[in-house]
């Protein structure tokens, strides 16, 4: 934990707090990405780099284009123009499942638990390179049984860590909203991603679970994974993110450490319009 914090402090120290600033070791680089819906420009990001091994928050008022930007990066939507690379590989036109295989795995704002599958089945589905998922191999159980047992074992250990082990045989639909968020994140880990993209991981999660989700996200960074998340909960952003990117009306308007971004005039204006006298920092926001 301490080691990573130090490394992150280094990156934070050497990075300029300006929109589109260069990072020492970017895992994701986006250039001139635009997406329009009719006359509305939803996303217009000139340049953005995400530091490897960091927790980066993507914040902004409703309708800022955060989720659309997520969809573009992960292949669920196609931009009108622009290019972006992940680990140096161009991702233009790459379909979502290939993006995931390259190591960039996302979750969804509206949780997509697979309702009529059990929690354990949800988890097992995430594992890569399953022999039993080939249509021909599926009829020869001895070809995949051993591998599937390994997968179940791994799934159980992650479920144990996420405190969902007691629910393993329940249908995912039987979980609470917060537990589904946990399950979705746990399932994403089964893919062994290098970068995890979380779309509002805290929405609708009760305070007790929130704390445990925070710990899990920090743990991801400790394991060397990169986390990019969209969030409205400023407490959470302040608590765990190394770096904050602020979007408004489709554009990146500010970047920086949580503390500096929340004092940024432009950011406060974007959130509250011209009439503002509220401090957005963690202490004053409550």
């Amino acid at each position: 934990m301490q080691r990573h914090s130090d490394a992150n402090m280094d990156f934070v120290a050497v990075t300029a707090e300006t929109p589109g600033s260069a990072k020492p070791d970017p895992i994701l680089i986006a250039d001139h990405i635009t997406r329009t819906f009719g006359g509305l420009t939803a996303v217009n990001v000139a340049h953005l780099e995400i530091q490897r091994g960091s927790i980066t928050a993507l914040i902004g008022p409703n309708g800022a284009g955060k989720t659309t930007f997520f969809n573009l990066l992960t292949g669920y939507d196609s931009p009108n123009s622009g290019s972006w690379t992940f680990n140096g590989l161009a991702l233009n036109g790459v379909p979502p499942h290939k993006v995931a295989r390259l190591g960039m795995v996302r979750t969804f704002q509206l949780t997509k638990a697979l309702y009529r599958l059990t929690v354990l089945e949800n988890m097992a589905l995430g594992a890569r390179g399953q022999k039993g998922e080939s249509v021909f191999a599926s009829i020869f159980p001895w070809l995949w049984r051993a591998q599937d047992e390994e997968i179940q074992k791994k799934a159980l250990s992650i479920l144990d860590n996420f405190k969902l082990i007691d629910k393993k045989d329940d249908f995912a639909a039987a979980l609470s909203g917060g537990q589904r968020k946990l399950l979705e994140m746990a399932r994403a880990l089964m893919v062994e991603p290098e970068m995890v993209m979380l779309d509002e991981p805290m929405a609708g999660v009760n305070p007790a679970l929130k704390q445990s989700l925070l710990e899990h996200i920090k743990e991801l960074r400790n394991e060397g994974k990169t986390v990019l998340f969209v969030e409205h909960d400023m407490d959470m952003v302040h608590e765990i993110s190394d770096w904050v990117v602020v979007m408004s009306q489709g554009e990146v308007i500010a970047e920086g450490t949580p503390a500096s971004v929340m004092k940024n005039e432009q950011v406060i204006e974007a959130y509250l319009g011209a009439h503002h006298n509220v401090n957005l920092s963690a202490e004053g926001g409550e």
């Binding site: 992960t74 795995v105 638990a113």
Partner: protein, 331 residues
């Protein structure tokens, strides 16, 4: 009333040729709809392709029957590809529209005058294309017991047909309980979530469409062979909807449900018909209420009422789990 006759007719139908045909059609639909969530409303098209593929090569081109079976499987795979390539990337409802139209196109092509010489037009094809199959029949006489009655040919079709159903159900059971089956059910629940885990959803939906379609074509083989003729209008939309009825009757996404659903479906139809017919001819049902010629329509009305009651009191079907059905509301 001749109760023994009613029993004999009903039981023979329950395990008879039609049950096998509908079970196969519904097993295919179970793959599509029950396990993968694909709304295929063109299952009749797959049966038609199976049936014509058995009859046409033998009658019009003089090929051996086993080659005709292979042609039938290849054709149903091609049909699945034609349906799937443009539509499986789109939302589920598009597949429903395309499949219902495609099945009608198949039927209309089959009955068109243009292909009269090979496909037989609206009269279809009648002939001894199943000769090689019936030559293998070890039963020289049929079965005639008080409770079951089949002629020699039907008996052979029924035995081989049930063997085919057993083999297909066995493989279905293995497949849906494998990681492949898990992936299919996941696609049914939420495609985008499955994509986010690095799975090529399009490829798997195509596999489902092909497998279910080939099983449907097997139903077409049985249909054609058992009657020694192929009539294009037997493969209309009604066949698809009866197959869905069978599937929902048994409970979707259960391996055995299409088989049991088909048995119940044909049990009810024949039982109701026989009871009504006996009632009318023995003057137990007055003439002003139901005439002899109305029996075959009225049995479908009663069947419809029965299905409504089933959907009201047991919406999950015979084998389904009501709790599981309730989850569908995407709570």
């Amino acid at each position: 009333m001749d109760f023994l006759f009613i029993t004999q007719q009903t039981l023979s139908a329950t395990i008879g040729v039609n049950t096998i045909i509908f079970a196969l059609a519904a097993i295919g639909l179970n793959m599509h709809f029950g396990y993968t969530g694909l709304l295929n409303f063109g299952q009749a098209g797959f049966l038609a392709i199976g049936a014509y593929s058995v009859a046409v090569p033998v009658i019009s081109f003089g090929l051996p029957l086993w080659v005709a079976f292979l042609i039938g499987i290849v054709n149903s795979v091609i049909f699945a590809l034609i349906l799937g390539i443009p539509t499986l990337r789109l939302r589920a409802d598009y597949l429903a529209i395309v499949t219902i139209a495609a099945a009608e196109i198949v039927r209309q092509i089959a009955r068109s005058a243009t292909f009269n010489s090979t496909l037989g037009g609206s009269d279809g094809i009648t002939g001894k294309f199943g000769e090689e199959f019936f030559a293998l029949n070890p039963f020289k006489s049929g079965l005639n017991t008080p409770i079951l009655r089949f002629n020699a040919n039907d008996l052979w079709v029924v035995i081989t047909g049930w063997l085919l159903v057993a083999v297909i159900v066995f493989f279905m059971w293995i497949m849906v309980n494998s990681p492949w089956g898990r992936l299919m059910r996941a696609i049914r629940e939420d495609e985008d979530a499955v994509r986010s885990l690095g799975k090529n959803v399009y490829l798997y939906k195509m596999q489902s469409l092909i497998i279910g379609g080939v099983i449907g074509a097997c139903g077409g083989f049985v249909y054609a062979l058992s009657r020694q003729s192929v009539q294009p209008d037997n493969y209309g939309t009604a066949l698809t909807f009866f197959a869905y009825t069978v599937l929902i009757l048994g409970g979707a996404a259960r391996v055995f449900s299409p088989v049991v659903g088909a048995m119940i479906f044909w049990f009810l139809i024949v039982f109701i018909e026989q009871v009504l017919r006996q009632g009318v001819t023995n003057d137990l049902i007055p003439d002003w209420l139901i005439g002899v010629n109305q029996v075959s329509q009225i049995r479908f009305m009663l069947m419809g009422i029965g299905l409504m009651l089933l959907m009201i009191f047991r919406p999950q079907g015979i084998f389904g789990d009501k709790k599981e059905l309730a989850l569908d509301a995407k709570a």
